[in-house]
């Protein structure tokens, strides 16, 4: 997105003269939405970012939270939506590269990746090509740098056919005293390490800050190719430099390239810098302007005290990592760029780094009324067996093994719970203790498209529940807000509401939002926005990984309970969409007080050993939660729907497919049923015992004496496990 004429005027005012072309390019890169957050900055102040665990909140490349006294977790989310729409393989791969470097910038060791993918209809040829490329790009890059992809979230919807959402997160760990908290000082050397700078990715952030043009071919300059081998060397080099205490500060070169890395580092510490561009190692002959805004991947900026230069040289040379000393920091607040002795730019770092925030117009479109519509007249009740089959055949619900089997999810032997068996992934620290962390990412694009405030709040709620269901205590979250064009008031309204929804729910659930990312301009060439989507990634503390809870039913004769009250909340449900093609209605309400109460109960039930399996109820409602537990455990289940504790319900589908929040299914060890009931009573939690794990291969739903649905477990397993692969391979 080129600078507007007002912005150029403002730049003239800042400099007090006509800017040089290099200066204009620097401002264009840094003042892009992607780098400067100019449209979102004012609203981001709504987010609760503080808490006793928070060591570093928003503002740095990545936030850090203290999970145990001696362990810090660094985690962050990033979007690579625009690059992935043009070149799915490299776009997704370089997204992984970027988020990993963000984690490195605090000196943490990256140990896990998550990918949250919101992609098009598998049967649309273009969307199908994007899906394959994105998944392959992530798996190749992740596998080659040796970091397992442990969890994620996937959604398929026509609306993402042309513009998919590729949200990736990385989790790193560091010992409390190894994390890099020091600041650059005047006189410190500025070193660029890693890949040689090339012409690739010129003004890529500027490219991400405008809608997809019809002729994407013209954007060739913005394409970046991932280089996992160099990334792996960077990871190793940073670990060694940190261990040797050789660096003062680290920053990733991502969007905005050298310009952004320099001016943000300088501005954050009240510094200036002197840079000699000709010192930088480049792949080809580049002009000063190209060097300043190139977004070549796998590069990092490190700040080193002069006395440590020899040590740094030793480490980097040994690992064969290229580097150049390109300049030093000063205390005058001015970034001075030289090329072969000639000054090409002189810009105050603060003004460059932080453009004036813009309060964008925000107006709800008429379409937003869809999310307010109560269901006073539902379509006639369907055949329930058929409806359930339709739901387990939904690629949004069916097993994602086609995706995660392409990923190495066990490198590093940290993974305790494998994909498909837990609501969240659980990783151990490998420090001879049983401590660990749980991580999970969630979103529901349909919810946020119908009701952005409540939908975003529900994403926080779901992430919270997933962390609780494995027995962890949620510590903090990061958010990624994927929205349309901020210059259009009816797009911006969705962004504003999503942000306020996250802020409200995070505050209520007492999980700080320690960092995040905003992605605007997610619209197609016709100017239609994607479904605005809020992705939440959360981290929880696990005291004892040997007692982590999984979701598969384990033993016949155990009882099955539902925790929480079920309301007739079918608006925006997967059921209404898959069975009737409806995408409307009031979505389930976020219920923070119930979430907190029920979460406390679930954690206690797990700790006391009453539970054998726990699963949160989300997409597809109770029916799907039960089926997923049976499928994972390869064991049948029999439940009586009439026993479910409900309020205001008039029809059966409102019980079994409602997506009411704050609910869990628990398999109770038969020895502890009475203890379970007493505990629920004492804690004021609504529970209903609805059936038992069955010594059969049948999934049976009845209503009192009447049999409603009878499904053969292995038929269900077959559909659930194979449908996504068939959809992608075109065999349906």
């Amino acid at each position: 997105m080129p600078l507007t004429s007002e912005e150029v005027k403002e730049i003239r005012k800042i400099l007090g003269r006509e800017p040089t072309t290099e200066e204009l390019a620097m401002f264009e890169a840094q003042w892009s939405e992607h780098c400067s957050y100019k449209s979102s900055k004012l609203l981001l102040k709504f987010l609760p970012t503080k808490g006793k665990h928070v060591i570093i909140g928003p503002g740095r490349d990545a936030p850090a939270v203290k999970v145990f006294k001696d362990w810090i977790v660094v985690f962050k989310i990033e979007s690579h939506n625009h690059p992935s729409a043009v070149d799915p393989y490299n776009g997704a791969a370089t997204g992984i590269g970027g988020i990993v470097r963000d984690i490195l910038s605090l000196g943490a060791k990256p140990v896990a990746l998550l990918d949250m993918l919101y992609m098009g209809n598998t049967r649309n040829p273009h969307a199908n090509w994007l899906i394959r490329g994105i998944v392959k790009g992530i798996s190749d890059y992740g596998n080659r740098i040796g970091i397992p992809t442990v969890a994620g979230d996937t959604w398929f919807d026509e609306v993402f056919n042309v513009q998919p959402l590729v949200n990736v997160a990385c989790v790193g760990i560091a010992k409390s005293n190894d994390i890099i908290l020091s600041s650059p000082q005047p006189g410190d050397l500025i070193i660029l390490m890693g890949n040689a700078t090339g012409r690739d990715g010129l003004l890529g952030s500027s490219f991400a800050s405008k809608p997809l043009s019809e002729d994407v071919d013209k954007d060739i300059g913005a394409v970046q190719v991932g280089d996992p081998l160099t990334e792996k060397l960077l990871i190793d080099a940073i670990q060694i430099l940190v261990a040797k205490k050789a660096v003062r500060y680290i920053k990733d070169l991502g969007g905005g390239g050298l310009t952004t890395a320099l001016c943000e580092t300088a501005a954050d510490h009240g510094l200036g810098a002197v840079i000699n561009l000709e010192k930088l190692h480049t792949r080809q002959h580049l002009t000063p302007l190209e060097i300043l805004v190139s977004e070549s991947q796998e590069r990092m900026l490190i700040v080193v005290d002069e006395s440590k230069l020899e040590l740094v040289d030793e480490v980097l040379s040994k690992l064969d990592v290229q580097y150049s000393v390109i300049g030093y920091f000063t205390n005058d607040g001015l970034i001075k760029i030289f090329y072969n002795g000639a000054k090409v730019a002189e810009v105050p770092s603060k003004e460059l780094a932080k453009p004036r925030p813009i309060r964008r117009a925000s107006i709800p479109p008429l379409e937003a009324l869809k999310g307010l519509k109560p269901f006073y007249q539902l379509p006639p009740e369907p055949d329930y067996r058929e409806a359930i089959i339709k739901l387990i055949s939904s690629p949004n619900i069916a097993s994602k093994r086609w995706i995660y089997e392409q990923y190495d999810h066990e490198v590093g032997v940290r993974t305790v719970v494998k994909p498909g068996f837990g609501d969240a992934a659980v990783l151990r620290f490998l420090d001879n203790s049983l401590r660990g962390i749980a991580v999970k990412g969630d979103a529901n694009p349909r919810y946020t498209a119908l009701d952005p405030f409540n939908g975003a709040a529900n994403a926080v709620g779901e992430c919270f529940r997933n962390l609780v269901a494995v027995g962890s205590k949620p510590i903090a979250i990061v958010d990624e807000l994927n929205a349309g064009n901020p210059e259009k008031p009816d797009h911006f309204w969705y962004f504003e509401m999503m942000l306020k929804g996250v802020a409200w729910m995070a505050e209520e659930l007492r999980v700080p939002v320690v960092g995040g990312k905003v992605s605007f301009y997610n619209e197609d060439h016709m100017g239609r926005q994607i479904k605005p989507t809020t992705t939440i990634v959360g981290v929880g503390r696990v005291e004892d990984v040997s007692r982590v809870m999984t979701m598969e039913f384990k033993e016949h004769s155990s009882l099955v309970a539902i925790v929480g009250v079920t309301y007739p909340e079918l608006g925006g449900s997967e059921y209404l969409y898959r069975v009737f093609g409806l995408e409307e209605g009031e979505i389930p309400k976020p219920r923070p007080a119930s979430e907190l109460r029920n979460a406390k109960f679930i954690r206690r039930v797990i700790r006391l050993g009453y539970a054998k399996a726990v699963h949160d109820i989300s997409l597809g409602g109770l029916a799907i939660a039960l089926i997923e537990m049976a499928v994972a455990g390869r064991i049948g289940v029999e439940v009586d729907i009439s026993k479910v504790y409900t309020r205001g319900v008039q029809r059966l589908d409102e019980v079994i497919f409602s997506e009411t929040q704050a609910r869990y299914v628990v398999e109770i060890d038969s020895r502890y049923v009475d203890d379970f009931k007493h505990l629920a009573e004492r804690m004021g939690v609504n529970i209903s015992i609805i059936g038992r794990v069955a010594d059969s291969n049948q999934i049976v739903f009845s209503f009192g004496p009447n049999n409603l649905v009878n499904l053969d477990l292995f038929t269900v397993v077959d559909i659930y496990n194979s449908i996504l692969e068939k959809e992608v391979e075109g065999e349906v």
Binding site: I220, V225, D227
Partner: protein, 88 residues
Amino acid sequence: MSETSLHFVEVVITNKKGVKDPEGDTIHKHLILRKGYAEVLGVRTGKYILFSVNARSAEEAVKKVKEICEKLRIYNPIIHDIEVRISA
């Protein structure tokens, strides 16, 4: 209808000239230069595919293969160059 015969069509896919090729760079830097072949100034890699096609003419076979590569997205026109030729 005229007779068809078997044609061998080669497809070579490489990253466009301005686009980085990490694999080629790695072979160049970490293998070739390390072994002392300083006269090698650069290495580019790519993908080679050989199609055996029944067609009435060589031109038709090439045309068909081009169409397949486009339609089935065997390459990404945005980052790749493609060369389609009859195998000699």
